[in-house]
């Protein structure tokens, strides 16, 4: 029967992998943000062929489940890395590729598309008037970017970016498929040891819930502070 003590015991085991899970999610968030910003920038240049290629890529990433992409990368990345390194005469054993790298690569690419949308939306919300005001006062391009555009775009993009962070944390439960142990994977392992799957998953759900709740709280506070008086 359901045993509350086992839930607690599982909880203790699961909490051990929380830092690693958060760290992975953070790395993915940062990489996807950088990739997304690059995507937004490249698209804004409106280069004919490049624009279409990116559009196709985006539609592909949006239209395929993360699991499939994860397997795709899992089986293709070692080959890509091996052949890339062999160009420089460096030998590489495909089997030695860290599966955490596979997870990071996959999710960074997946979520870069979403980050790109977030950044584009935030940029869109910034009216051109303020940029003109800065120009008219003699701000250089980089001063305009640093003092006017980025602070406002960051504030605007923060809620959605943090939302993406939560989505990434939850999506990492798929990492188990390529042997990376996150919260969910740990719950499966703990459950398998004691055959108390239900208790382990209850514990995992609680951990996810608490993390998301806490992050949401922090982000709301932060957003209020960044926005202070203005909407």
């Amino acid at each position: 029967m359901f045993d509350i003590v086992t839930v607690f015991e599982s909880l203790i085991e699961i909490v051990k992998v929380v830092p690693k899970t958060l760290f992975l999610a953070l790395v993915i968030l940062i990489l996807s943000f950088i990739l997304g910003a690059m995507l937004t920038y490249i698209q804004s240049l409106n280069i004919p062929v490049v624009k279409q290629i990116i559009a196709v890529l985006q539609s592909f990433l949006r239209g395929t489940p993360n699991v499939v992409l994860l397997y795709l990368v899992y089986y293709s990345l070692p080959l890509v890395v091996t052949s890339f390194l062999s160009l420089f005469g460096v030998g590489f054993d495909p089997a030695s590729l860290n599966s955490a790298a596979v997870v990071i690569v996959t999710f960074s690419i997946c979520y870069s598309v979403f980050q790109s949308e977030i950044i584009r939306g935030a940029l869109h919300s910034l009216d051109k008037d303020q940029i003109e005001a800065a120009q008219s006062l003699g701000y250089s391009t980089s001063q305009t970017l640093r003092k006017v555009i980025i602070p406002q775009v960051m504030t605007e993009a923060l809620p959605d970016t943090m939302n993406a962070f939560l989505i990434i944390i939850k999506a990492l439960s798929l990492a188990f498929l390529v042997t990376v142990v996150d919260i969910f994977a740990q719950a499966r392992l703990v459950g398998a040891q004691t055959f108390s799957y239900l208790e382990a998953f209850v514990a995992a759900a609680l951990v996810y819930w608490v993390i998301c709740g806490a992050l949401t709280y922090v982000v709301n506070k932060l957003e209020n502070r960044m926005r202070r008086g203005y909407v």
Partner: protein, 247 residues
């Protein structure tokens, strides 16, 4: 002080401004009037290069620039000698009134925070907003926002302030306070180029009025010359229409 010669501007092959000459002396208030779409705002925006003219020359503050070959550095130089007050105020939304006024002083002029703060307080007092220094733009009325933007322009101590229809976006009851601030600025000896549809204000405040029509300077002169004694058919037509509409 400010001298424009042979300024030409076109958008996608359409001529917007043709062969404009304009001279503004130090401390003068020059008002541009004329029908909508005639290039008044474009002319103003050429002076600080928010629009880049196809050709022409400008002298400002003792330096000459050739629009057809102006580079980035010269552009910044020219912009730093001018300031603009926009129709829609264009304040930085994430900054308070005083931060709006301080920012350019610190970023562009590299003043210390203290210096910038003192200067900003002084200018905000001048436009009567010392009680609103910590308010964000969305907490201010249109008239107050426009006065902050006037303070922001004053604070960088430009050679000339360009006013682009500063009261056009305001509710009628707020126009007065902004005009009063502009008058204040004019009295202080600041050189001003003003685009406006407030004819009686233009008449009162200007040293020189320029009537523009179809991208050209149709006529220019002292206010009474333009408003009372003009024999230019287009000027008369415009003013008559204007007065008829006002009645």
């Amino acid at each position: 002080m400010l001298n424009l010669r042979n300024l030409n501007l076109s958008f996608h092959g359409n001529k917007v401004l043709e062969d404009i000459d304009l001279e503004v002396k130090k401390g003068e208030v020059v008002t541009l009037i004329g029908p909508s779409g005639t290039g008044k705002t474009s002319l103003l925006r050429c002076i600080n290069l928010l629009e880049k003219p196809d050709s022409g020359f400008i002298s400002l503050g003792g330096l000459d620039y050739d629009f057809s070959s102006i580079d980035k550095k010269e552009t910044l130089n020219l912009r730093r000698k001018t300031a603009m007050v926009f129709q829609q105020y264009n304040l930085f939304k994430n900054k308070t009134a005083i931060e709006n006024v301080m920012d350019a002083q610190m970023v562009v002029q590299k003043k210390s925070k203290k210096e910038a703060y003192e200067k900003s307080m002084e200018e905000l007092k001048r436009v009567g907003l010392e009680a609103k220094v910590d308010a964000y733009p969305n907490q201010l009325s249109g008239g107050q926002q426009q006065r902050v933007s006037i303070a922001r322009a004053l604070a960088v101590e430009p050679e000339v302030i360009l006013f682009d229809e500063p009261t056009s976006a305001l509710d009628p009851e707020l126009v007065g306070e902004v005009l009063k601030s502009i008058e204040e600025v004019a009295k202080s000896g600041m050189t001003i180029i003003l685009v406006t549809h407030e004819m009686s204000f233009a008449q009162d405040i200007s040293d020189k009025v320029v009537f523009m029509d179809k991208g050209q300077v149709a006529e220019s002169g002292r206010p009474e010359q333009i408003f009372k004694e003009s024999d230019n058919a287009r000027t008369q037509q415009f003013l008559n229409k204007f007065y008829a509409a006002a009645q």
